[in-house]
Symmetry: C2
Subunit: 367 residues, 2 copies
């Protein structure tokens, strides 16, 4: 029955993440990470076309990390230099690994054609690689019949575990948080019933485009803690308390919150931004972002590793009204790129092509 | 012998204070206030001339607060409205109180002529009223022979207790810290041997000229602590740890410290400034001050109550070299007023007029 399947399209999306509170404190502590998914359009189209990628088979298992030998073989196959860490190379490698491993385990994945389109900037701490890995895993598992639709909780777990393998190919030793957010739209430790109750909040994401190394930033924070433990440890305590306070406020908010809930959320943003500066992960471009949005009555903080990268600005509810054009103009004048989105979006989703926005259809070559 | 004394001049100075670390945390906590005196020229000349001020005598005692009745009587005598809180009115009232009380206790103060000149701005959290009270107390006690010169430790205690009375007239319920700094050049809880070891540090004081109410700021901090105890109390802990760390670093520094000691002091400035912003006592003018000095490689924080007022900038040792003219120019362009001074200066001092700077002599009408 499956020997000559009709070509079909799968359109899959998965959200990235934005850390509202808890960056850096979580690395050194043990308390709640309030990270919430936002809707992205990191989409992948798997079409049944011919491909020669599935020739080699080896010992693939989603419970084991990809081995150095496997990755070397895949690099050679794809003509990727050993030292290459370009996003395209890593994405290709992750796709190849997942494709071959899923084929080996669940039966041949039909030959596929992959088109990826993403609203998420890469390397900005927004979980773009995890959103990509989740989409690829979901599409491949669906293409070979290992998961049906709508996805059950066990099927989501399977998608997540293969996406984690993709993340391992890309990052070496990922925490698993980002692929869980991409899969379920919430962090792995988050209570399902609570996560469902998180209201939809409008945010503005701003990419300062200032590059930074997460590894260097994390090491810098560690050094500061070792240098001034009595000064720094209370700051981590305070950041953890902010995460918990934010979680409580979000849980107490109705689905479509009125403006009266916002001052506390804004105050927590401001406090945490100061704390992140204390940890040494601020940057003049982030100070500038905060100043520009403050001049429009908005509150911002860095999100992710800091030292550049992205900032998140809380937008007050105002129906369909976007933040003022002046806010966009002033942020763009700094050389930043920004876009409005929501937190509290669903996880990995299958889409009906007819329901996609024209912009996405065009990007995927389906219009 | 003293019935017709020859006119003589006493030139007395007392330092103001600059809080390096610990503002606000001290109000709510119980840990070290690292406040160090800096040399000012809040001078007072007491000349033996006629005055009718000493006519009324009442029950004055340096261990008791000035009574409302006493202050009302003095206000009436001086023609000061009951509600007046103008610096001039309060200074006159404090002088009258100290003059009459010291006369009543130690024998008539000879008729005096007072000239006050101060480098310290009033109402800027730099202890100008205490420096004034210390100078007046020292001059009056010296004029009536209650203290000799050089001052012994007991005589300094006497000057301090009368200066505290002056502060009570001006502030109602002062802590006693500022007059102690004015008298001894160090806080009341500071170990004498340690205080003597504090190196001379060059600082730039900048008056943003933005007015603020200490009472409102302190109340705001209290509100924040009550609203977010788990978030705010660790911040107070961290501020106290900064005070202690700074004290340790200062104690370990030689008298004329080399530049290698400065990075830690600068880092502590930066961290504390962020913490003070978290407590809600920052102000855009203070952020601007920090930014302007940072652009010249200098580190600043607010000093005192915040919300405007003064900032302190650490200057690296560079012999007689002042901070760059560009720094002054940029700060003045913000509408700020700034002047360079030292921390770690002596307390109340008697001066030989011939050793005074021409500027001071001119101001005192002695040139």
């Amino acid at each position: 029955m499956n020997s000559e399947p009709a070509p079909r399209s799968l359109v899959v999306s998965a959200p990235g993440k934005v850390i509202l509170h808890g960056e850096h404190a979580v690395v050194h502590g043990d308390v709640v990470l309030v990270n919430t998914a936002f809707k992205s359009k990191n989409s992948l189209v798997a079409k049944c076309l011919n491909s020669a990628l599935l020739a080699s088979v080896a010992d693939f298992d989603e419970s084991k990390s990809p081995s150095a030998e496997q990755l070397d073989a895949l690099r050679e196959f794809a003509g990727i230099a050993a030292e290459s860490s370009a996003p395209d190379s890593l994405a290709t490698l992750a796709f190849l690994y997942m494709c071959l491993a899923i084929s080996a385990k669940y039966g041949d994945v039909p030959s596929v054609d992959i088109i990826v389109w993403s609203e998420l900037p890469t390397g900005a701490g927004l979980g773009s690689s995890a959103a990509y890995s989740v989409c690829v895993a979901a599409a491949l598992l669906a293409a070979c019949g290992a998961v049906a639709c709508p996805w059950t909780e066990e099927e989501l777990s399977l998608i997540n575990s293969w996406a984690f393998q993709g993340e391992r190919v890309i990052h070496g030793n990922p925490s698993g948080v980002d692929n869980a957010v991409g899969t379920w739209g919430r962090g792995p430790g988050d209570d399902v019933s609570l996560a469902r109750r998180v209201p939809t909040l409008r945010i503005l994401l701003t990419n300062t485009k200032v590059p930074r190394s997460t590894k260097v930033l994390v090491a810098g924070v560690k050094d500061k803690i070792l240098k001034f433990p009595a000064i720094m440890n209370p700051v981590l305590d305070s950041i953890n308390a902010i995460s918990q306070e934010c979680q409580s406020v979000l849980e107490a908010m109705p689905g479509n919150p009125s403006p009266e809930y916002y001052p506390v959320l804004e105050e927590l943003f401001d406090i945490n931004q100061h704390h992140l500066n204390v940890l040494g992960v601020g940057h003049p471009c982030l100070d500038r972002l905060c100043r520009v949005t403050a001049s429009h009555g908005l509150h911002s903080k860095l999100t992710g590793a800091g030292g550049g990268g992205c900032g998140v600005t809380l937008l007050r509810p105002g129906g369909a009204e976007p933040p003022s054009a002046a806010t966009y103009r002033d942020l763009c004048a700094c050389g930043f790129e920004c876009w409005e989105t929501n937190i509290g979006a669903p996880g990995v989703s299958l889409h009906c092509p007819s329901a996609l926005k024209a912009e996405v259809l065009r990007a995927l070559g389906m219009s």
